[in-house]
Amino acid sequence: MRKDAQIIVSSVFWLAMALFWFLAYPQALGFQEQNQLFLFTWDYLGERLSVTGGLADWIAEFLTQFNYIPWLGALLLSGLFVLLQMLVWKLSDSESLEWYPLSYIPSLLVLMHMGDIYAMPAHLAALVLTAALSLVYMRKPSLWLPLVAIPLGFWLIGPAIWIFVLFVVFFHRKPADLLYPLYLLAIIFLYRATFMQQYPPKSVFFGVNYYRWPLTVPVLQLVVAASVFVVPVIVRSLPKARNSLMVAVSLACVIVAGAFFGVRATYGRDTYEIIAYDQLIRHEKWQKVVDRASLYQPKSDIGCVSVNLALFMTGKMDLMDDFYQCGTRGLIMPRVRDLISNVSSYEVFWRMGFVNSALRYAFDSQESEMNYRKSGRFMSKMAECQIVNGRYEVARKYLDILKHSLFYSKWAKSKELLLGNEGLIAADPVYSYLRAVKFSDRFLFNYGEMDKMLYILAARNENNIMARSYFMAWKRLQEAGGGEQ
């Protein structure tokens, strides 16, 4: 296929992918971004490199931080997809136009895999790196490259380095090359016995940072990895077709259709709707939450909390019954250990004056990261809660950490000025309001007696309209039989 045509098609693919992320699933970008906190420090790099696959992870996190600006994040993430496609085509080493669409299969499989919100971009970065390494070897085969690249690659890229080893073994087909898989196995066992002692064998073999949940290896993740090797092998073995244009178009249609249905199957509508609400709440786009919910609303507690919050913020709480309700849990949820359930409830707590509860839910959201990441969004909220509570040294700790990030640094520096400066805090409309309405009485939080807590909060300050509205809504839902038991 002509090079300029390839560039055009790849560019269209890039654009399509970017539009996919930016227009169809911008919430996925925000979700990935808020579940990490990339820091420009040597310690952070060192921490990433302390486990296998660390470089791929670091690169992926570096790129993911740009999701803070969705269009930029979409472009960068899509770039990785295009890079993978181009590398797969190069590895296929084919001049036949008709098989070119096959080179998109791995990238599209990654796209489907990333419909799983626990799939990490680090896996994609690792595939790109190992494909690039494989290409270097294909272009300039040498004995020393696998000897060096296998241990180093396993450390920096992770188990995706198996793809490189497979290329080395199968493309030159020398009996001696069969030793390379054994070499990699030996390396893996060596790492497991030394640097990776504190990880289960399964994590070491299948990757520590490819998936958020430890000890979980989705089948699609393995299929994606296998495709990076299998597709070039197949393309190389395919003969030239007679009607190449027709074959190419047919293949492209089949692949696009497959991708379409694959994406529909893997991007759970309810999950992404809830994440969309959350991202809109994060940016205080209340009316958009209401508009989305008017078209489709997942029947879940967390979705309900988000919609009810948006209804209050738009002054339409009297329209609650026009939307799905699930009892009092739909106003504020009890604490749940996962990445999304607590978030909308802490937004409610924060705005209402339950500052300690907002802190608790934000903290627990951050600590729900099973892969030990921190979160710029949650840490910012924790810092704000500590400022409102007057615990400036803890707030300073969080702000100083945030100052090492790209997108939270400016915010952190602006908040640093407030630490210990009561005058500035009093002049801040949000913090001074929260100080005025937050609990002054010290008692133990009891979710089962939320109505009483709401009443106390509403009675404390008549300006706390939100507490009053939530109290009335709580009582009404309770009486309607939908209360938390």
């Binding site: 289960p200 509860s357 627990d364 030990y372 615990r391 300073r396 133990l444 807590m453």
Partner: protein, 483 residues
């Protein structure tokens, strides 16, 4: 000669820059606050940072019994070998620190401060602790670690990453000797993991006669028994005030476990409707100290829960308890709560936390350390070790002349480890923060709290190999109640 050269270098450093030097009558604003602390000669270099924005610091350390060293840089970072030489040469004497800090073009020379080098050696290898993010109900990275006291080397014993989804709980060695060591794992694959002379076994400690698994543990000096409490622990969260979290039990009992036969020795006196917890054996092994509070309706009456310090006789030969409980300090009577009794290993003292109420002084800013003289029954506060913040999770060194304690005094949330010396009369010296290579960077940047620290006489040989398989196999040794 070396001294002359050092002074000449210092003078050159100051003069060559063409900058002025001013004197200040104040102590240097250093982190950590190491002025007037008492240190063991074996401790790692007591590096510190100058906290007034100084771009460069120059420090000269002189020993009153001889020797000196100088350092300069962004912070005071001492050469470990030379530090240890200087400290060793000044046992019983003082180290005098002269500190100069450069801000802009001006060097400021502060008032000298000193550290006293104790005559009591601290020969334990290091400290062990649990590390995790402090706060609420969820934890991500959690683990047990050991840290060498003579250097900055920290190594993991067990990290949560090895057994994902499980909580690695409190660990206990037998009077700092890790040959007998146990820790608890909580979660779906929970167990009490016991290492006895190099062998590891996973125990299921709940029986039909006990309300739950072992929680707070303490070894019998013989190494043949471990006392455990079993607690229904809950957490709740304050809506306002200085403390965010309240930890309370709504049921708890105490029992002794024969670790050779894996039998539980029960006593109805330790399994009443009251809340019995925090067992600790006396040095002779014939008394079991514990804390007990009258049953309350918690959390509603959480602020009315006051624990007393109690004791019951224990005969290791017959494996039986005495027929009565002695109340040593009556918590409800004084309106305070006594928790975490820790008898010294020389049999002289018993250290405990005193808080306004409750069983978890770690979350109580008012919690202070007190010392009970086991010879005459007198009680006094451990003034040097206490601060305006919480003091809790304390323990003794193997020679009972050093204690460690955790406190949130840096920022009111993150517990760090402090060390103090205790003399023959029970006087406590000003505690010092466990030194780090770059203390401010370490403590300010860390998002971990240091929890349940203990001294360890030697390095803990904890084999991570096989731990995952053992945990997830769920093969457990079921303890039984002794007939």
């Amino acid at each position: 000669m070396r001294r002359l050269l050092t002074m000449a270098a210092a003078a050159l450093l100051l003069v060559s820059c063409g900058r002025t030097t001013v004197s200040s009558n104040t102590l240097p604003p250093i982190f950590p606050d190491y002025a007037d602390v008492t240190i063991p000669a074996q401790i790692a270099p007591m590096n510190f940072n100058l906290m007034n924005g100084a771009k460069r610091v120059y420090v000269r350390v002189r020993g009153t019994k001889g020797g000196e060293m100088t350092v300069s840089g962004k912070y005071a970072r001492f050469n470990p070998r030379r530090w240890h030489e200087l400290a060793a040469a000044n046992v019983g004497g003082d180290l005098i620190f002269t500190v100069l800090g450069r801000t802009g073009k001006v060097w400021t020379q502060y008032r000298d401060f000193k550290m006293h080098v104790s005559e009591y050696p601290l020969e334990d290898y290091g400290v062990t602790y649990r590390r995790f993010a402090p706060g609420y109900e969820t934890y991500s990275r959690i683990g047990l670690y050991q840290r060498c006291l003579g250097s900055f080397k920290e190594t993991p014993m067990v990290e949560g990453s090895l057994i994902p989804g499980q909580c690695v709980g409190c660990h206990t060695a037998n009077a700092t000797d890790p040959q007998q060591f146990l820790f608890h794992v909580r979660g779906k694959h929970g167990a009490t993991v016991m290492q006895l002379e190099g062998e590891r076994k996973w125990l299921a400690t709940k029986t039909d006669s006990t309300i739950g698994n072992a929680v707070y543990s303490y070894w019998h000096p013989s190494g043949n028994f471990a006392a455990h409490s079993t607690n229904f622990i809950h957490q709740n969260f304050w809506t306002a005030g200085n403390s965010y979290v309240e930890v309370y039990d709504d049921a708890s009992d105490v029992f002794v476990h024969n670790v050779r036969t894996d039998e539980l020795i029960l006593s109805p006196l330790l399994m009443t409707s009251d809340f019995e917890t925090f067992p600790a054996f006396s040095r002779d092994g014939k008394t079991l100290f514990f804390c007990s509070a009258p049953e309350r309706n918690v959390p509603a009456e959480a602020e009315d829960v006051h624990y007393s310090l109690c004791a019951i006789g224990f005969d290791p030969e017959t494996q039986t308890f005495a027929d009565h409980v002695d109340t040593i300090i009556n918590g409800p009577a004084i309106g305070k709560s006594i928790t975490f009794p820790r008898p010294s290993y020389d049999g002289k003292w018993l250290m405990f936390s005193l808080a306004d109420f409750g069983c978890f002084p770690n979350n109580h800013m008012e919690s202070e350390l007190y010392l009970l003289d086991l010879r005459d029954g007198s009680v006094k506060p451990m003034t040097g070790a206490n601060s305006e913040y919480n003091e809790s999770f304390h323990n003794w060194s193997s020679d009972s002349h050093w204690i460690l304690v955790t406190s949130r005094r840096i920022d009111s949330l993150y517990n760090c480890i402090y060390i103090s010396s205790v003399d023959e009369e029970g006087n406590t010296t000003k505690s010092f923060l466990l030194p780090q290579r770059n203390p401010w960077k370490f403590y300010h940047n860390t998002l971990f709290t240091f929890n349940v620290p203990d001294f360890t006489k030697t390095r803990v040989e904890s084999k991570a190999r096989g731990l995952f398989k053992e945990a997830y196999s769920d093969k457990r040794v079921q303890v039984k109640v002794k007939e």
